[in-house]
């Protein structure tokens, strides 16, 4: 397709790019905008490593043609730990041993983030459902689930809103 100008909100800042609108959001984020925190595990929507938030919903960035994000809000893993601060979800991932090779971790954290935005006190089954599109080969998911449960409690204790 012909290139066109795409303007969207990326990690709370406006971005303007001139790009083939059929290019995937994943390759735009990584190869054009240098945001390598979003991982490419299959590029076919089958592993969830490339999960980002599109208007607050977790999506596979590899399946989103960038033309679709025109005027939308996109959040990547880089937005969760700005200015040297680490999000409570990330703290709990470390604390509970939920990070092994770490390749699924950014996508997994973002699925958790999207879940907690919508449902601040999820049950374990809801957590499993929320991360069921994120494959992890290292962990068997148990410590990831523990981390998300624990992050929900921590956020509630702190009386923090998720963001």
């Amino acid at each position: 397709m012909k290139k066109q100008v795409i303007i969207f909100q990326l990690n709370d800042e406006p971005v303007e790019i001139y790009v083939d609108p059929a290019e995937s959001l994943l390759t735009v984020l990584r190869d054009r905008l240098g945001l390598y925190g979003t991982k490419a595990g299959c590029s076919k929507g089958e592993c969830g490593a490339c999960t980002v938030l599109l208007d607050d919903r977790a999506v596979n960035s590899c399946l989103v043609p960038v033309g679709k994000v025109q005027g939308c809000k996109v959040e990547t893993i880089e937005n969760l730990s700005r200015g040297g601060k680490v999000h409570p979800i990330q703290e709990e991932f470390v604390d509970k041993g939920a990070v092994q090779c770490g390749f699924c971790t950014p996508g997994m954290v973002l699925s958790a983030y999207a879940l907690l935005k919508e449902n601040p006190q999820p049950a374990r089954d809801q957590i499993k459902m929320a991360i069921s599109g994120n494959l992890c080969r290292c962990s068997g998911y148990k410590q990831i689930e523990e981390a998300i449960l624990s992050a929900a409690k921590k956020l509630a204790r702190q009386g923090n809103s998720i963001t």
Binding site: M1, K2, Q4, P21, A22, S24, K44, G45, E46, G48, T51, L54, R57, A58, V59, N60, C62, L63, V64, P65, G67, K68, Q70, G71, S111, M129, A130, S132, G133, L135
Partner: protein
């Protein structure tokens, strides 16, 4: 023009007619990269009139660009068209459900698309408009051409909404599926039912299974079998045998053999009918 997110239906139709067959409409666009890219795309996902679920003239109207996530959590659909909520929650993964739409599930015409199977069991009708501004209404099962090909030409016609008669007193619906894995997996078989009971006997029923033919398939003989019967153990046994006997299915190396799939059709149809019937308790307001 190449990728256009439209904000009015008029804009969408004009774009289609202006590009005389070289553009086509998309909504979630999750299957875009699996196909050859057209010259240009008209994205409908921001059209306000097709992104809502509402009750209108006694019908549930589900906009074609409603995502699977939205449909699965709609209180109206959960209360009055439960099979559809269940079908939508079974699609792919949360990430895919968050962006993939009901309309796409129908128009992509996959033989065992979970939302479409549920819609057909519910007797859903599709409302379409073409570039000449002519609208038509069609039963969802009549939109299929062949495997993964819809009769709806996305360069000329737009699916606007799906209309479902709500399940009211004495009526229930349900959806179920059987797959190797509980997420990110196409089903070996999926099945859905809508049933109306009177005095404990089946008065109306729609039973749908897939993948059987290119389109999700109604099991007419089995439907006839249960009319005026109670949904009890004995009937369900006969339903299982009848449903399996009624279909001719294909096997696939990736999922299962034809013989096993046929067996599963029987098991799943009986199970889903039972769940729908349990929800059709006349004491309740519907499913």
């Amino acid at each position: 023009m190449s990728y256009l997110t439209v904000s009015t239906l008029e804009e969408a139709l004009t774009s289609l007619s202006d590009s005389s067959g070289k553009a086509r409409v998309v909504a979630g666009a999750t299957d875009l990269f699996l196909q050859d890219l057209p010259h240009s795309l008209v994205d409908l996902s921001a059209l306000p009139e097709i992104t809502v679920v509402e009750e209108k003239d006694g019908l549930i109207s589900i906009g074609a660009a409603v995502t699977h996530t939205a449909a699965a959590s709609s209180s109206l659909i959960l209360a009055r068209a439960r099979a559809l909520a269940e079908g939508c929650s079974a699609v792919g993964s949360p990430q895919i459900r968050n962006i993939g739409t009901i309309g796409g599930n129908v128009i992509n015409a996959a033989p065992a698309a979970d939302a479409a199977v549920a819609l057909i069991s519910l007797g859903a009708e599709a409302v379409l408009i073409d570039v000449n501004r002519e609208t038509r209404q069609e039963a969802v099962e009549n939109l299929y051409w062949t495997y993964n090909r819809s009769l709806v030409d996305s360069s000329k016609e737009i699916l606007l909404r799906l209309l479902v008669k709500p399940c009211l007193g004495g009526e229930g619906s349900a959806f179920t599926r059987f797959a190797v894995r509980r997420a990110l997996a196409l089903p070996m078989v999926n099945a859905a039912a809508r049933v109306k009971l009177e005095n404990g006997l089946v008065k109306k029923v729609r039973l749908v299974a897939a993948p059987v033919r290119p389109a999700p398939t109604r099991l007419i003989q089995t439907e006839e079998l249960v009319i005026n019967q109670p949904v009890d153990k004995d009937t369900l046994k006969r339903v299982e045998v009848s449903a399996a006997g009624e279909v001719e299915v294909r096997g696939s190396q990736l999922r299962c053999s034809a013989r096993y799939r046929q067996h599963l059709v029987g098991v799943l149809i009986a199970r889903v009918l039972k769940i729908a019937a349990d929800r059709a308790d006349p004491g309740k307001a519907g499913d």
